[in-house]
Symmetry: C2
Subunit: 449 residues, 2 copies
């Protein structure tokens, strides 16, 4: 039921492009969904993609533009004149049009705006460009149906019919006062079953969840999910209705947020993807690698300073990797649970209850690992004192890593820094170094060297 | 605009529960959204929550039940009779009702089903229980509006009115044939603007994206996102329309999938949360820690076997943590990009292009780190041969880790195993061991001990 790209189709298209057989191209593509065509264009080279793009009509291409990979879109936009881009944008909802304009250079931006045909549409788009892309204002569109509380049902139905022409999917009818302030919403059913002379103020529902235009995108996502909304109205500082956000834009926010957390945990700074350039990929990864290197140079000092110890007790040094890895693993586990708890609201701030639970879990894991190592070392190397030092150390290091793993994300969150950083390489390498310091300190105490 | 729980409110509610002041409780809570009440109940203890639950009417409590934390819902369900649970379920959509029944014990399940009042509803729920929860069948609900292609517009409108009573949000009108097979969809606009005698088969839209009842939930999520759908029809093996999936259920799938990847990367096996028990948390974490320990014991053998080397060249051993950490970091970075590429479709299988890009990125990072270390070691320790061994090793280890990091997720994906495992502790510790083996092999070659 779903469309699948085949190699045959790609070859056929390439042949048609070579022959400049525009008619056959149209026949082949016009029946497809714009999302499928976007997928096809992503498989072709830039020239071929641009060729097809120019063959199709602007109603179709406008939608395709939204679905393309970033680099292909950038390339196609470069090959289009300001007038051609404006034609695309005239077909799009204001929020999508604003997103595309935001990708253009400053000079081209102004040119494109001046070429927009529908002035009302142009005004709305320009208005949207003011907002930060990570806020409700940056997500919202201007397409909505709004009615005045002082209208009668009759006026309302007439006005709605005109408004609805510009709105592809009507999610809700919003009610405003003379100042444009959001007062509530109207159910279509009530509107249709009430006498045409009734005033809107007598029938509208006064409860409506809205967000402020400055609200963060993740906050909007949380509210829409909590209240199971398919659209939410956006108001300005004075409570005036300025736009609406639909659920499809929120899905992107949810996915981006999850991707960002995962990337931070994996030690990637920017939002990169497999098809980005070598330079972008290196820029996103090298800083974390260098930071890890610098932190581990500290570890090398600690080892250097304890050289005599492991020349005397040779098995002391061979368990350093085990100790580091265990500290790293337990720290990341502890952080990940806190990060997810903060994201879904089960953790809000430091709680003694939760902390003691984490310490209990680590204590149990630590004791099991520690007893195993004590036994293993005694059997393998018969140096009971060293075995004791190792097994005490592992418990202490595990408890330390669990504490750091729990507290660091809470601290970051409190200071408005993304707590997911705490599951990344910075913390694991830091845990390494502290782990090694603790290890040799305890060994020194137990073995008395 | 959004409701916020206050300590005062919680205290007031606790007082009212103690005084058994049901009237005042209703007054206080009836104005709130069911999602907010669920949040409040999660803050109270089980007895208090159950008390409030019984005060509110079943239309409200049914919705609340869906929003509660798992353990509270389980506890409340235990305290309700089969008849009481059936009353809740009668208020819910079939998919939500089936989800709740699936949580009950086998005996209670049957009791509850026999108590359901609406037989049609009960039949639909029982039908849904057959499907695996990770498939389209497990996600879908039975509430939809469907019309026969052989009907006239007039019959259609009449039938629709009856059907729509059971459907809270009408996303689409589906068209079926006499066998119940999905043929297409109907636009409300066409329906309202056509003569009442017209046959549906003349006006319906033949293009409709559907999913098979056995489709995986993540596949459904991908399709709905790609085509920007707020609802999708589900068909059985014979193409018969059996249900519909709405976008709110898909958001849960997207979030769960992201959470799962993040947890696998953090070394947590089960879907645990901060408020789970110590036992559950330990069960989800200890296996990874033990596995890490066993792998690192291999590392201890490698170090033991090279004891003479680092007694002779003392700075050789002190860079082991740096080497391990760098290998781990680069491996996780490489895997994470592949895992996300597989998830969003930019990577589909092994591609020589992508692999050589990854190797280039690693080569650049490796060379920079390696040159720095060569310089650093020469200045600090003046053992140029050892410095050379270290810096050659770091490049080789980085290239090895990048290769493993790229290939392992692809291999897992090909064998239908979740590739996100490749960003977890198994790979980082394995990289550790291979890194150490490579390091001492290269050192032996360079230094000739």
């Amino acid at each position: 039921m779903e469309f699948k790209i085949s190699k045959d189709l790609i070859q056929e298209l390439e042949q048609l492009i070579q022959n400049k057989d525009d008619k056959q191209l149209e026949v082949l593509l016009n029946d497809l969904h714009h999302a499928d065509i976007a997928e096809i264009l992503d498989e072709l080279d830039f020239d071929e993609a641009t060729y097809i793009f120019k063959v199709l009509d602007s109603e179709m291409t406008a939608e395709i533009l939204l679905e393309l990979e970033d680099d292909l879109r950038e390339n196609i936009l470069k090959r289009l004149s300001a007038k051609e881009i404006a034609e695309e944008l005239d077909e799009l909802d204001t929020d999508d049009a604003a997103d595309i304009i935001a990708e253009l250079s400053q000079s081209k931006k102004e040119e494109v705006i001046s070429e927009l045909e529908d002035l009302e549409h142009a005004k709305d788009i320009v208005d949207l460009l003011r907002y930060d892309e990570d806020t409700a204002g940056g997500l919202m569109g201007k397409e909505l149906v709004k009615v005045n509380e002082n209208w009668t049902v009759l006026t309302c139905v007439k006005e709605m019919r005109a408004q609805a022409e510009n709105v592809s999917r009507v999610h809700s009818i919003y009610v405003i006062d003379d100042e444009g302030r959001l007062k509530g919403r109207l159910s279509l059913k009530d509107l249709l079953t009430t006498s045409t002379k009734t005033q809107i103020s007598d029938i509208y529902i006064k409860k409506v969840t809205s967000v402020n235009v400055d609200a963060e995108d993740v906050e909007v996502a949380r509210i829409m999910q909590k209240y199971d909304l398919e659209a939410i109205p956006v108001v300005d500082e004075m409570g005036r209705l300025v736009g609406r956000i639909t659920i499809d834009d929120i899905i992107d926010v949810i996915k981006d947020e999850a991707d960002k957390d995962y990337q931070l945990a994996a030690g990637i700074t920017q939002d990169v993807e497999a098809n980005d350039s070598v330079l972008e990929l290196t820029k996103a990864r090298l800083p974390w690698l260098l930071m890890g290197m610098v932190i581990e140079i500290v570890a090398s000092f600690v080892l250097k300073n304890n050289e005599l110890a492991f020349q005397k007790y040779s098995t002391l040094i061979i368990f350093v990797p085990l100790l580091s890895a265990t500290a790293g693993n337990i720290g990341v586990q502890a952080s990940a649970i806190v990060v997810q708890g903060l994201a879904n609201g089960t953790i809000k701030e430091f709680s003694r209850n939760y902390f003691s639970k984490e310490i209990t879990v680590s204590m149990i894991s630590g004791t099991i690992i520690s007893l195993f190592l004590l036994l293993y070392h005694s059997v393998m190397y018969q140096q009971y004192q060293v075995g004791l030092a190792i097994s005490i150390s592992i418990i202490v290091v595990i408890l330390f890593a669990a504490t750091l793993g729990t507290l660091v994300p809470l601290f970051l969150h409190k200071n408005k820094i993304d707590p997911a950083i705490a599951t990344g390489p910075f913390i694991t390498t830091t845990n390494d170094v502290f782990g090694i310091i603790l290890y040799f300190t305890i060994a020194r105490l137990v073995l008395g060297y």
